[in-house]
């Protein structure tokens, strides 16, 4: 159908749907008046049962750990899909000549390169810190991994594609990605065999407020950090290398 017809049909149905949704939202509690019994139970018991101060982390990796396992596998599959698409494209494209150094260093002045070289270390350290303190302060494996994975773009901006290839070594980080995803499931199975329930927390729980606390929460946090960080590094490297292919095609 033409674009005009499509927009009209969409507009009509959107108005009706919006009206229905607004009417349905009136039976929700008013903003700020949420009274869920499960919430009260979790807030009262999570710190006592799991010795973890950061309650969303405890929920993610222990109380609702099974949902996080599913999300992590979505992440892993998407990264694998992107890599598959790009490697199939590389196989289909004509073989490129040996890449020259021209495209890497032409535009960046010394100041920009020094700045990004320094910033890379800061970002990587901050990512590790956010992930390591996941039981105590806002943060955890997901946030820390995303921050750490973003440092690879700074490496590229500082030193070009070759440095990015060396720093984000493809084989190493894809192996680390797979290790992280596999370990989450393996820990679940292992704790299932040990305690009789999948992802049951059977390691020592530690003292609330210390860095290593929460038992399997901390271990799973570490593995999730490995997986998300390696996934982002591999993903961003694959995308930026596509740009180098673009430069070669233009030459």
């Amino acid at each position: 159908m033409s674009e005009h017809t499509r927009t009209t049909v969409f507009g009509a149905s959107a108005i009706v749907t919006l009206a229905l949704m607004l009417y349905a939202s009136m039976s929700l509690p008013a903003f700020g008046e949420f009274t869920g019994p499960y919430t009260k139970a979790v807030l009262a018991e999570a710190t006592r049962l799991r010795h973890v101060d950061n309650v969303p982390t405890a929920i993610n990796f222990d109380i609702r750990g099974f949902d996080t396992l599913g999300e992590e596998f979505i992440f892993f599959t998407s990264v694998a899909g992107v890599l598959l698409l790009f490697s199939a494209a590389k196989a289909a494209a004509p073989p490129a000549p040996e890449p020259m150094e021209i495209g890497d260093q032409r535009a960046n002045t010394g100041a920009i390169r020094w700045f990004f070289a320094g910033v890379t270390a800061l970002i990587a350290a901050m990512g590790v810190s956010v992930a390591a303190h996941g039981s105590l302060t806002p943060g955890g494996g997901f946030q820390g991994g995303a921050i750490f994975g973003s440092a690879i773009v700074c490496v590229y901006l500082a030193m070009g594609t070759r440095a990015m290839d060396v720093a984000g070594n493809h084989t190493f980080f894809t192996a680390l990605d797979a290790l992280g995803a596999f370990s989450f499931g393996a820990i679940g199975v292992a704790t299932g065999l040990a305690t009789g329930s999948f992802l049951g927390n059977s390691l020592g729980l530690g003292r609330t407020g210390s860095l290593v606390s929460g038992g399997t929460i901390y271990v799973i946090n570490g593995f999730v950090f490995l997986e998300i960080a390696s996934g982002f590094i591999v993903l961003l490297t694959a995308f930026i290398k596509q740009m180098r292919q673009l430069q070669e095609e233009q030459q």
Binding site: P138, Q143, I147, G149, L236, I240
Partner: protein
Amino acid sequence: MSLLELVLYVLVAIVGTAVVLTKRPLNQLIVFAAFGLLLSTLFFALHAPDVALSEIAVGTLAVPTIVMVAMMKTGGGV
């Protein structure tokens, strides 16, 4: 509902509309990065620091880089 939350909600609605209504994909990307920043401020105001951290880490570096590379490769956006 305090003034801060009210202002943030209205701004989120306005900037979300702006992302969709902007013309060229390059401009849309810049407005989208601003939308991500505004969303994370809203998440802070709703007492959700974990979520705000996630949104900042992902929405200001990873997603714009990927979208920019895709724009360059497909020749659209300029």
